[in-house]
């Protein structure tokens, strides 16, 4: 549970930092950099979420007797 809590705060923190960076970069007039920052933050979080969703599906498979 402790690790999971850390990951939740990590996701929220990355989201806030990315939003802040995007705001600053757009104020500076660097729109394309802002887009890249958004994309990279999104992919990083997507990776974490995808790994835990895969874990969830494996658990469901093993518990509910899906062998195939």
């Amino acid at each position: 549970m402790g690790i999971d809590m850390n990951t939740i705060f990590q996701i929220a923190g990355i989201g806030i930092v990315v939003a802040f960076l995007v705001t600053v970069l757009e104020q500076m007039g660097k729109k394309d950099y802002a887009n890249w920052v958004t994309l990279i933050g999104f992919i990083y979080i997507l990776f974490m979420v995808a790994s835990i969703v895969e874990d969830l599906f494996q658990k469901i498979k093993s518990v509910f007797l899906f062998q195939g």
Binding site: G41, I60, F64
Partner: protein
Amino acid sequence: MLQIVGLGLVATFLALILKEHKSPIAFLLVVFVGSVIFLFLIDQIYEIIKMVERLSINAHVNMIYVETILKIIGIAYIAEFGAQITKDAGQGAIASKIELGGKVLILSMAIPILTVIIETIISMLPN
């Protein structure tokens, strides 16, 4: 129980903060929290299912039927999870398609049980 409620509340507040800035990341946070809560519960679910299996073995029920029922519960849970998350993201149409898929698959898995029931009833009928 308190852990789950606390997790849910913290996640809700964080998602609210994130939604002001970046909507997709808030959505990913919600998916993550849903998975974490289910992973937290899965050990207890495993115990319950083991108990059902033991009871059915003791009662000499055919194992195929119990297995089918467990698979149906699994399909129902996965379909519900997917449909709720899609609905949260504002895609009601995809959510209802996921639900439709779940229903059709459940019905097709229940075909052997239905066939056995119908055959039993027919054999009971007097000729």
